[in-house]
């Protein structure tokens, strides 16, 4: 099964990269309130069992793909046709 894991910097955690891009966009004339930069991880797992896939994705997101101290994550399981 295919899934997408979205990793984002948690609210309140400084995001120097987002801050730099915000500054750059503002200089280019955009009216910018804020920019936060995260990461998209596309994962394909072997199993076709939805529950099992979700459990595995949850564990890998928590243990490796995100650092829960500073990042939150969302798992989107893509339905296969």
């Amino acid at each position: 099964m295919k899934a997408t894991v979205l990793v984002r910097p948690k609210a309140g955690i400084l995001d120097p990269q987002g801050e730099a891009v915000r500054g750059s966009l503002a200089k280019s004339g955009f009216d910018i309130v804020s920019v936060r930069i995260g990461r998209v991880v596309d994962v394909e797992v072997e199993t076709s069992d939805r529950e099992k896939a979700l459990a595995e994705l949850e564990q890998m997101s928590h243990d490796l793909l995100a650092n829960p101290l500073i990042e939150s994550y969302e798992i989107e399981l893509l339905e296969e046709a």
Binding site: K10, P16, Q17, A20, L64, I70
Partner: protein, 233 residues
């Protein structure tokens, strides 16, 4: 009688850069320093301290230290630390210890977004740790840094707890080179046997290299390793 040379294991991960410098500096300070390959599952027999060196293990992919903490040797390092063993993480080694949960907090990108490579001045906040016993309280140390991800942070609760439990051992004095919370440059775990720092003491053990101040940290570690080794015999 010459004092015993304690065995200090320096781990080489794929992408470690400063492992040989760490071995050289530790040996110059009279330790029996040995390189240990990341794929080993055990530390050498009689190891009395472990150093995780600087570098860019696994290309800093995902986050600095995130991949290295799954190296086979890390299970042995975690076990060694849990039993009270002395572990020092320098730069990338500090990031690995944070990712492995042996130290609190995390190191994010420098606030400037730039890689910083220069000497900094540190102030010693604690001298009652195995890593700073040769220092004076409030002493200023000149030691180089070289990193892009040295900005120590955590949530407000974690940072408040670090201060409350006096786990901050080193702070940047004056100018904060990377934006780290409360100018934190080095921390210990609650039990005081695991330390991480961004500056590189192994690059500052001889006046010819600019400063001998890093030797105070490494020699403190070697003193403590020797005492523990002797206590075990």
């Amino acid at each position: 009688m010459t004092p015993e040379r304690p065995k200090v294991a320096v781990v080489t991960f794929l992408g470690s850069l400063d492992d040989h410098d760490a071995v050289w500096a530790l040996a110059a300070l009279d330790a029996d320093a040995q390189l240990v390959w990341h794929a080993e599952s055990e530390l050498p027999e009689g190891t009395s301290a472990v150093v995780l060196p600087g570098g860019f293990s696994y290309g800093d992919y995902l986050r600095g230290g995130a991949i290295a903490r799954f190296a086979p040797i890390m299970d042995a390092v975690i076990e060694f630390a849990a039993a009270g063993g002395l572990v020092l993480g320098i730069c990338n080694g500090f990031q690995i210890l944070c990712e492995a949960g042996l130290l609190p907090g995390v190191l994010i990108r420098n606030a400037s977004l730039s890689f910083v490579c220069r000497d900094v001045v540190l102030s010693v906040e604690r001298t009652d740790t195995p890593f700073t016993s040769r220092c004076q309280q409030g002493q200023q140390l000149r030691i180089p840094i070289k990193h892009g991800y040295g900005n120590f942070t955590g949530d407000d609760e974690l940072l408040a707890e670090l201060e409350r439990k006096s786990q901050v051992v080193l702070r940047y004095h004056g100018d904060n080179p990377n934006g780290s919370a409360f100018s934190i440059a080095g921390v210990v775990n609650e039990t005081g046997n695991v330390m991480g720092l961004m500056p590189h003491p192994e690059h500052a053990v001889d006046p010819l290299l600019g400063s001998p101040d890093g030797a105070l940290i490494l020699a403190s570690l070697i003193d403590a390793a020797r005492e523990r080794r002797t206590a075990l015999v």
